[in-house]
Structures are given as structure tokens and as C-alpha cells.
């Protein structure tokens, strides 16, 4: 029999439906793989019984009309999705032991579709990081290694556990969230696909908030088709999220086509920046050729405010975070530091003990840029520049249908190698503009660099046009023929 953990979600679905294997066999194979891969530190909680229960329900329903689209598929869930009765800590000490009495809309949608849960996936604390090193549970170790080296690499972040789990075959697919690249950069580092839909497609209800005007959930999986399958289930209108889009969910999987005849691919000249390895730029050129081969026409476009996207993001995201994270006060859930006498001291001591260094740094920046006397100079200014960045994209999409860029300015780096916060922030230089503009964007694997590490290509689409993003991703996937998998050193 085939190795079940190496199959795509589409492959598992087909094998389960045709009776080639049972949902229980799928769940057992993944449960065993999860338990054997603890060296990766990808999961913060393992829930094998949850995966088995969903599998048994799927086996029972097989052949009936009630079979959900994800029946028989177990998934990994990023630790910032609230999961009823299962620890949800967002990678932070301050939420230690928090068991939500409710389920996030996105994970509830997946459950309703028949999916089981393999466990909760490690992440940068409150999704603040690009390497998964800020997690209170410790760093996730990427399944990938440089050729001839045993140095531990980061899987990227913040959805680092999700990326590592899919790449290592310990989840066929996983949920991620993307505030400024947190699905796409780790997908690129791990040689998998991941899509962030248009802001408002997936409900934010029950997702631990980081920066509410930017946060979006999305799937991470082995293939573009798998991403389409998962996103169709995850997305949808939810009255419990005031920014949820009240629109029907397109049938993205049925709409998949790698024929790009008549499509124009924008190549933004501002994304040719200094200090990016030649291999990444040549993969980008190769990507243009692949899309041409699929029938598309490349056009040079200009996004003049690109260089201001990162500084804009590092005002807006910390500002929103400082406000969102005010709720962690030691009163309603999570950690409380005892032995202090006043309420104010309890707040301060709890937050000092509960938050890690990067989270504190961002709360401090956010508090400063929102404080009296500085609000207009920083926060309002950043919101105005954000409007200009959005306008850049609006104009660009008059000339093109989808934009192609590299996903990240480097391949995966070593754990502990990047210690300067600003250098870490630069990882998201290509990912952040689309986040600020609320646009759908996806990373697909393009190839390996000279050290044997995956590199990703990045597609940005117009508002609500996930289909063109997925289709261009599929065209690249078919031509790149990326089939490299990390050597299994962890079990």
C-alpha cells in the first residue's frame, strides 16, 4: 500500500472514497507519524483521539449523502485558532492552560466538513515573528537541512509549525494565519503551498487577534489543489466577524485551470531590491517563463510605494497589537502572577512574566505610536501611506491580472542566526504589501537553491480574485515539477 502520509489531500480523499483505504487508516498513519516526529517540535498539543473519532465518523458515513468534503482528512490546526476544550495558547506563556469554551469559525467549518484534528501547531508568540523562534514552546525545527549539514534551520514564521508539519508529512494540510506574510514565508521555506485569501474571506472569529485590520486565515498544504479544497471550506460569511465578507464562496477547486491564455502577469520593478541572492532573482525570471509557457503575457508594472510597506506595517501592526493584547491582564484567563498587592501591579507583573521579548517590543512600539502627541505623526501617517499602497495595487490591476514576485528574500536560515529585530522584519519585504492592501496572495514552491533548500514564488491577485492566483500557482506547480522532500532525519 502507498505511504498514506505522503499523499495529498486530493489523493487521500480519492483513496478514501474509492475504498482503497479507510479514514481510520489515514488517521492512524498520521497519528503515528506525529508521535515519531517530536524532534521537530511542530505540535504543541497532540489530539490523536480527535483525529480517530472524526475518521470513524467518516468511515461510517462513507457512501452516504452526508459525507462532508473533508471526510477522512485529519488536519493540523495552528495554535491561535480557538479549539473547544483543547489548549489554545497562541504560543504564549500568558495563555498557558487556556481551554476555550468555544470553537473558532474556521476550525468549526473544517470540522463540519468532516475533518479531524491531529493537534495544535506551534507558532511564533501571538504570530509575531518570521522564524518560529519567539514561541514559548521553543523553536520549531525545519525538516529541511542544508546539503551536508546538520545545522537546525527555522521553518519560517509565524505559521512555522504548520509549514514544518506539512513538509514533514505529519499533517496533510494545516491552517495558518497571515498578518504580514505568516503563511507565505513559511510555505516558501518549507517547500509547500499556502494562500492568504482576500481580507474578509475567512472569519476571524475565534482566532487570537494580532492586528485585526490585517489578520487572515488560510490553508497550507502540499499542492495548489489542496489549498483550493481547504480554502473553500474555511472561507464563508460569518455574522460574528464584523469584517467578514457577505459573499458566496466560489468553487475554487472546480475552477482550477493552468491555462493562462489572455492573462497578464505584472512584474513589479520595485521588487528588484539589493541584497537578494541571484538564485532568487533567477527563479523569479524562470517563473515568468513558466507563466508565459502557460499562455500569460508578462507586463512590467510599478508599485511606487513598495519600499514604504514594511515601515508602514511596523507602525500599524504593533499599534493594533498593543490594543488587542491589552486583554491579557491576568483576570479572565491564562497566567496570573500572585503575591503583588495592587490590581495595577498584578497587571504589570503578569504581563512582564507572560509575554516574551518580541511581543513586549511590539506592544511598546504600538503603545508609543498611539500615545498622545505621537498618534498623528506615526499612526495616522502610516494609515495614509497604506492608502497609497492600496492605490498602487489598484492602478497596477488596471494593467495586469496577477502579480508575480519572489516570496521571501532568502531561503530558510539557521536557528539563532538572525538576532537583530529589523533584519528579521525584512523577511517579509515581498509579502507585506499585499497584506496592507488586503489582497489574496499565495506562495508555491519553485525549486531548490544551491544548498538544497526550497525557494518560493509569490502570486498576488486582485481583490476577491483568488481563482487567478490559484490558477497561476497551478501553472507554476505543473512546470516547476517540485517534488523534493526533506530527508527523514527526525524519526
Amino acid at each position: 500500500m502507498v505511504e498514506l502520509t505522503s499523499l495529498t489531500i486530493a489523493g487521500l480523499r480519492e483513496g478514501f472514497r474509492s475504498g482503497e483505504f479507510s479514514a481510520r487508516e489515514i488517521a492512524e498513519a498520521f497519528n503515528t507519524a506525529v508521535a515519531a516526529a517530536r524532534a521537530l517540535n511542530a505540535y504543541t498539543v497532540e489530539t490523536p483521539e480527535d483525529a480517530l473519532a472524526a475518521a470513524d465518523a467518516a468511515d461510517k458515513a462513507r457512501g452516504s449523502a452526508e459525507l462532508g468534503p473533508l471526510a477522512g482528512i485529519p488536519l493540523g490546526i495552528k495554535d491561535l485558532f480557538a479549539t473547544q476544550g483543547v489548549d489554545t495558547t497562541s504560543g504564549s506563556r500568558i495563555l498557558k492552560g487556556f481551554k476555550p469554551p468555544y470553537e473558532s469559525t474556521v476550525s468549526a467549518n473544517l470540522r463540519k466538513a468532516g475533518a479531524g484534528m491531529l493537534g495544535k501547531l506551534n507558532m511564533d508568540e501571538f504570530a509575531m515573528g518570521s522564524s518560529n523562534e519567539t514561541s514559548a514552546y521553543g523553536a520549531v525545527i525545519s525538516p529541511w537541512r542544508r546539503k551536508g549539514s546538520n545545522v537546525g534551520l527555522t521553518p519560517g514564521g509565524s505559521s512555522g509549525g504548520s509549514a514544518a508539519a506539512v513538509a514533514a508529512g505529519i499533517a496533510p494540510g494545516a491552517t495558518g494565519t497571515d498578518t504580514g506574510g505568516s503563511i507565505r514565508q513559511p510555505a516558501a521555506f518549507a517547500g509547500i503551498s499556502g494562500i492568504k485569501p482576500t481580507y474578509g474571506r475567512c472569519s476571524r472569529w475565534g482566532i487570537v487577534a494580532f492586528a485585526s485590520s490585517l489578520d487572515q486565515a488560510g490553508p497550507m498544504a502540499k499542492s495548489v489543489r489542496d489549498c483550493a479544497i481547504l480554502l473553500e471550506v474555511m472561507a464563508g460569511f460569518d455574522p460574528k466577524d464584523s469584517t467578514s465578507l457577505n459573499l458566496p464562496v466560489p468553487q475554487w477547486e472546480a475552477g482550477l485551470s493552468s491555462d493562462l491564455k489572455g492573462k497578464r502577469v505584472g512584474i513589479p520593478k520595485e521588487y528588484r531590491i539589493d541584497g537578494v541572492p541571484a538564485e532568487i532573482n533567477s527563479l523569479w525570471d524562470q517563473g515568468i517563463e513558466w507563466l508565459k509557457d502557460a499562455g500569460a503575457t508578462p507586463v512590467e508594472i510599478s508599485l511606487p510605494h513598495t519600499k514604504y510597506a514594511l515601515p508602514t506595517y511596523y507602525i500599524i501592526a504593533p499599534a493594533e497589537a498593543s490594543s488587542n493584547l491589552a486583554r491579557y491582564d491576568g483576570v479572565r484567563y491564562g497566567l496570573r502572577v500572585e503575591g503583588v498587592h495592587t490590581l495595577d501591579d498584578m497587571y504589570s507583573a503578569t504581563r512582564a512574566a507572560g509575554f516574551g521579548a518580541e511581543v513586549k517590543r511590539r506592544i511598546m512600539i504600538g503603545t508609543y505610536v498611539l500615545s498622545a502627541g505621537f498618534y498623528d505623526a506615526y499612526f495616522t501617517k502610516a494609515q495614509k501611506v497604506r492608502a497609497l499602497i492600496k492605490q498602487d495595487f489598484r492602478k497596477a490591476f488596471e494593467q495586469c491580472d496577477v502579480i508575480l514576485t519572489p516570496t521571501a528574500p532568502s531561503a530558510a536560515f539557521g536557528i539563532g542566526e538572525t538576532t537583530d529585530p529589523l533584519a528579521m522584519y525584512l523577511n517579509d519585504v515581498f509579502a507585506v504589501p499585499a497584506s496592507l492592501a488586503g489582497l489574496p496572495a499565495m506562495s508555491v514552491p519553485g525549486g531548490l537553491d544551491g544548498q538544497g533548500l526550497p525557494l518560493g514564488l509569490h502570486l498576488i491577485g486582485n481583490e476577491l480574485d483568488e481563482q487567478t492566483v490559484l490558477n497561476a500557482g497551478l501553472a507554476i506547480e505543473e512546470r516547476a515539477g517540485f517534488s523534493a522532500r526533506p530527508e527523514k532525519w527526525w524519526s
Partner: protein, 95 residues
């Protein structure tokens, strides 16, 4: 603009994060680095530009003013570090 140790101490107080003098000293150059970098936005001409607050155009919805949730006091309190008599309990605030 750059921040002084006194300002950082004040921000920490606003953010309700207890910090030692050493932490404050360490944060001053880090924050100044980041603030110095974001200040490049000053180069951008934003005259007449409306600040962007809603990234995808949509109307805020209204709903009927009815109770849609509630009656789950014990579930809500189940995660509290301390709950007494059906309430969240905090250190005494009134002498």
C-alpha cells in the same frame, strides 16, 4: 525623534508591563532603531490622502438589538485564574 529611558519607562507603564532598569536600558536603542527606520515615511507626500481604515470596501452591518448569546457564566469563568461567587476576582482596589 528618539526616545529616552524616561520615555520608555513611561510607555512601559502605559502598556502595563513591569520592567527593570536593565530592560529599559536594553530597549532604548532597540526602539530607537525601529522608530528611526519607520520615520522614513516622512519622505512620502500624503497631502490630501485619507487614512485607510477599511482595506476592502464594505458597509458595517446592523443587526436586530436582541440577545444572541449568554447564560454561560460558568463556562466564561472556567478559565479565570480566580473566580469567587460567580465573579472574576482581583486584588482589592478600594480600601
Amino acid at each position: 525623534m528618539s526616545v529616552s529611558p524616561e520615555q520608555v519607562r513611561h510607555i512601559a507603564k502605559l502598556a502595563r508591563i513591569a520592567m527593570s532598569d536593565e530592560e529599559i536600558e536594553r530597549l532604548v536603542p532597540e526602539l530607537n532603531n525601529i522608530l528611526g527606520w519607520v520615520e522614513q515615511l516622512g519622505e512620502v507626500n500624503t497631502d490630501g490622502i485619507e487614512p485607510l481604515a477599511t482595506v476592502i470596501d464594505q458597509q458595517l452591518r446592523l443587526r436586530d438589538d436582541v440577545v444572541t448569546d449568554g447564560g454561560i457564566r460558568d463556562e466564561v469563568l472556567a478559565n479565570a485564574p480566580e473566580a469567587q461567587h460567580g465573579f472574576f476576582a482581583v486584588p482589592k482596589v478600594i480600601e
